[in-house]
Amino acid sequence: MRNRATTSLSRGKIRQSWSKYNLYNLSRFRSPPTANRTFFQQKWSAKAISRAYHGEQVREGQWKRMFSKRIRSVVPMNVADLAADDGSLVSSGRGLGLDSEDKKSRTNVRPMPFTQMAFAPLERRLDVAIFRALFASSARQARQFVIHGAVTVNGQKMRQPSYLLNPGDLFQVDPERVMYATGAPKNKFERREARLERKKEEKEEEATAEEGEAKEAKPEAEAKEGEKENTRETLKALMAQAKNAMSHEVLPAKRKQELRGFQKAVRRVMSRAGSSSVLTDSLENQFSELTLLLKGKRADKKDSKKSGKERRATKDEDSAAAETAEVDAAPGEALSEAFEKAAKGEEVDTSELTDDEFDVLKRALTQMRDNPIDNSKPYATPWRPRDYMSAFTFIPRYLEVNQNICAAVYLRHPVARPGAAEVPTPFGETVSTPAYGWYLKRRW
């Protein structure tokens, strides 16, 4: 299928996509003018605009067959009202003097935006649901994921993007694809790095293939050692990565400094481990231990919330420069120290470190484990969200998403409720009402 879903600036159509072109189109979109235009023209342009966003990958005939004029809606019921009145008060005669103040206020409900739900049947489609669950950066990409077999529904591979989800269906996308779709892309230096690494590996493979026969004699002895060495290996690998990342010239000085600190810390832990062999514990254990310690620390200090706010402030752009120097200097020590102590299984001396530093340390540790530098990945590592992603992130209530495993459950069909419609659409009622009207009149 040819992709006609280009986000051209001259047309200014809004698409189901996270591109910055689309963002710009979204920001400058105005509803089409209605003055001096016939009702047909108004409906036509409203239809054209909204179909460019809603299921542009679906053929018009297919969508027309899906369209239903019946719109699902719910009213949140107040149990106190239900209990107080069995309905006879509302229906009693007006002349009885039974009208109360409450009754008037109860009639003051917001209207249901029914026509905003005109494209609700499309939200059932698997590719659209994947886009809504924030697993792909556009509906087109979601569609590709499905076709390429990266999506399962209820544990079975599903290759049809037009599969209509039923309430209770669990769909899951391959996490690597999701990271690729939502992560920042590599720049050319990172791409080059990956290329070189691949070449090196290929060479090594050839070499090992030749040596293979000679090595077969002693795999048993290695296996024994392997378990002990495992954690050390992990740390070693981490350090190698840091070194690798530093080796090329293009890195900015700041980042290089950061990485060097990290490298140093790892080396210290490794030297300890070599002498005392405490490192048979897995890295996981260290992390959990540290986390426990930190929790205990937090319980002591009630003002942790305040420090949390300060931490947010550090992220603020303006104060960044001032804070960086301090943070860079101190936690280098803090990190290495805590690293050592955790490795030795000792009690970490909490008094020396401030709450802020602890937070930084803790986050650094967990992040280091979860988000490593890995050149073999198709996205920039360590993973970070792609630019302009945050302007498009929302999760509608009819989906329950677990981002860790990139799985989501389609709970129910989207519904309208007083004052709110669950179908995410960038258009107001001036567009959606004529568009709904267009599909209401069956002229095919």
Binding site: N154, G155, Q156, L170
Partner: protein
């Protein structure tokens, strides 16, 4: 004339589906049978891997069968074809066939 209980193929290319039918032995595979007594889907279905209890579950094939009609047709001398014999023996309606080895 011999009555046979046999399979007649439906479904599409690469997607077989069989009716279990009672038909005259010399009639065509797609001809209208005397009676359709069940169906057999040879495409195995995989139980979902979302739950732990399904971890070792085997893939399954679905058979639908009217037992009383089958018994009746067997009683009046209808002869199951080999694949149907296999199915009927699994359903407990006929004795399993002894394994015979082809001597080439």
């Amino acid at each position: 004339m011999v009555l046979r209980i046999r399979l007649s193929r439906f479904g599409n290319k690469h997607n077989p589906f069989y009716n279990i039918v009672v038909a005259q032995a010399r009639s065509a595979r797609g001809a209208k049978p005397l009676e359709v007594i069940g169906t057999y889907n040879p495409v195995p279905k995989q139980p979902t891997n979302l739950y732990d209890e399904n971890a070792n579950a085997r893939a399954f094939k679905e058979v639908a069968l009217d037992r009383s009609r089958t018994k009746y047709w067997l009683g009046v001398g209808a002869q199951p074809s080999d694949p149907v014999w296999k199915l009927l023996s699994m359903a407990g309606l006929v004795e399993p066939k002894p394994i015979t080895h082809n001597k080439a």
